[in-house]
């Protein structure tokens, strides 16, 4: 059992939780993830380790409510417990001094990009962060990002904060103006990672993306998380989650992600019918909209 020590509500659909998980916290590194299960009947949900504190034995997760499981998780409160937390899973990000780097985050992707940006900065890189969100209310950790990077650019789809537009625009501009960008990380909805990779491709700047495929076990046992690279099929949970975005078969990835959409939608509907009517109506609509973009 893993206790929720702290909960923060970033927006109607984005929540942060600090969990007591000493074994995970002890080993965690930037770029890795955990799989959590709420209770006996819950799904196994992969979530990036957004922050960790080995001394206190805690990890931080930030999740967006996109389906039944994440919506139900959003209702959990401080003092309650997750039945299972397993990790750290996947390879850690390779941190070294590359020189000038850019990290690009879309939506809840700010969570996984934060520890990477911080570690890159500590390793001596010049880090520019581009953060995008649908609107101002979905942004979080701007202050932490500013504190841990050299330069922060914010974009919102509706212009409610920062620049109006998509993260790929400032990304392209920086690449045009600076020929010395050594590497780019882009983490967020798959569609955003696809376009970020397409943006950097003509500049030939290596671009790492953190793939969020459907997963079951997270240990390389089921193959449900497989993704096709130029070099062949890989398992995201054990071979990733970071891959070179220029070599990912994005169309296949996007179609595999939508595979359970009908089943998931039915699950939300069944759950809503039970008793959580009004609250989840809002969450469902927001969640699915964002989920589909993601």
């Amino acid at each position: 059992m893993y206790k929720i020590l702290r909960k923060e509500v970033f927006s109607e659909t984005v929540k942060l939780m600090v969990l007591e998980a000493p074994l995970v916290a002890h080993k965690a590194k930037a770029g890795q993830f955990v799989i959590v299960r709420m209770d006996e009947t819950g799904e196994r949900i992969p979530l990036t380790i957004a922050d960790f504190d080995a001394e206190k034995g805690t990890i931080t997760i930030i999740f967006q409510e996109v389906g039944k499981s994440t919506m139900q998780m959003g209702l959990m409160e401080e003092g309650e417990y997750f039945e299972n937390v397993v990790g750290p899973l996947g390879h850690a990000t390779e941190i070294k001094n590359y020189g000038k780097v850019i990290v690009v985050a879309g939506g809840v992707g700010i969570a996984p990009i934060f520890p990477i940006a911080r570690a890159l900065k500590q390793a001596g890189n010049h880090v520019t962060a581009i953060i995008g969100a649908r609107n101002k209310s979905l942004l979080f950790w701007e202050d932490r990002m500013r504190a841990e990077t050299d330069h922060v650019i914010i974009c919102t789809d509706d212009g409610s904060y920062g620049r109006k537009g998509l993260v790929t625009e400032p990304l392209k501009e920086i690449l045009e103006q600076n020929k010395d960008i050594a590497q780019v990380w882009a983490i967020g909805p798959s569609i955003m990672m696809k376009f970020a990779s397409l943006t950097t491709k003509p500049f030939n700047v290596p671009t790492l993306v953190s793939l969020n495929t459907v997963m079951v076990d997270g240990t390389g046992m089921c193959g449900g998380c497989r993704v096709v690279m130029d070099s062949g099929a890989k398992f995201v949970c054990v071979d990733g989650p970071e891959f070179d975005g220029h070599h990912v078969d994005w169309d296949l990835l996007l179609s595999r992600l939508s595979f359970f959409r009908d089943e998931e939608r039915q699950a939300v509907e069944r759950w809503k019918e039970q008793d959580h009517k009004c609250r989840t109506d809002i969450m469902f609509e927001n969640g699915i909209k964002e989920g589909q973009n993601g």
Partner: protein, 465 residues
Amino acid sequence: MAKKIIVPCKVKMPEQPAGERVHNYQEVPYGYTPEEAMEEARRCLQCARPTCMDGCPVNVNIPGFLALVADGDFQGAVDMIKLTNALPAITGRVCPQEVQCEGVCVLNKKFEPVGIGRLERFVADWEAGQGKIAIPQAPPQTGRKVAVVGSGPAGLTAAADLARMGHEVDVFEALHEPGGVLVYGIPEFRLPKAIVKREVDYVKSLGADVHLDFIVGSVATLDELLEKYDAILLGTGAGLPWFMGLPGENLGGVYSSNEYLTRVNLMKAYRPEYDTPVSRGNRVLTIGGGNTAMDAARTALRLGSKESIIVYRRSRAELPARAEEVHHAEEEGVQFNLLTTPVAFHGKDGRVTALECIKNELGEPDASGRRKPVPIEGSNFFIEADVMVIAIGQSPSPLIANTTPELKTMKNGTVAADTATMKTSKKGVFAAGDIITGGATVILAMGQAKIAASAIDEYLKTGVW
């Protein structure tokens, strides 16, 4: 003893009718009543040279326990089995008896062999039904600590033996439930999970601690474990599923058998109160001919598919699955497309819709001694289906080997070990089960685990590697 009269056929074991059982997850055979069990046990000729025992990898005293069953001494029978086989309720259900004990029973030459598996199952269930499974007295503690990695049949067997030898045992399991393939792979209708739980509880009652959500290789490496433990037993199985590398293999609706069965068994997708989804499918194709393929094909029917079809490249005689599974699958209406090899998956809008296959004929025997399937040029044809399950085998996951450079592995990913002691190339580390053999059987995993447990005990006592 008066000359025995030979009873040619096994006492029938009642089972759920095929038409009914495809709509539920309950176990198919009901098991014998005490009277039926005694009658079946009396068919044993009590051979002076019991060939049956040659077929049992853990040397169960078969005529011995059968004589006790025939006399109605079920407790005596189960105690005798447990001297060499800690999990009779499981082996009685899943051992491929027709190629092991029953396959070499003298009766099998002309008649049906004695139903050894059924009787093993019967006495184990009988004991559980008595509600008081005897827990051996705790032995004096040795003060030595052993880490068992993986809680499948190999890990559970070794943990039980080591605990009974007085060592402190910690079992580390990656998943959220102990049992290995017994919980995530083999379906409820073939091996009820309550039985696995009973065995896990038994191992715990002997004093072994089971730590879930603990992936060795990521939470702790073998070297880190060796700082705290005097020896390690690796029983991590062969969990890495094989794919075929065919075009279209990654379309939506194409699963590995591990994913399909894990969604249904471990994550209980067949029960509405559980959240994990699985595609039900109208027509489900399973590629392969082993137990895993039978389990997937029979699961598909229970999930509500109208048709469930097996595609296997050799002929019926070569199907590697247990005979009983093939028989049950046929009874339930699973169709067999034999001598057929897949060549491509075809789909529409990202979802699989058809499998392109080619017909084979049987050629010369290959390295495995089985006649090799040879494709018939130009015989390509399509089978339409909306869910496809690839069940062609698996090998050990590289996770631990990758984080332990001194651990020697073979080309196919299995860990190299001396089969007399189950010692690996790394001091203090032993291994047993599918991690050594690749996908094999429950009883082989248990047999190796027993050898490993004795060798570990020896090593802890003498310190000699």
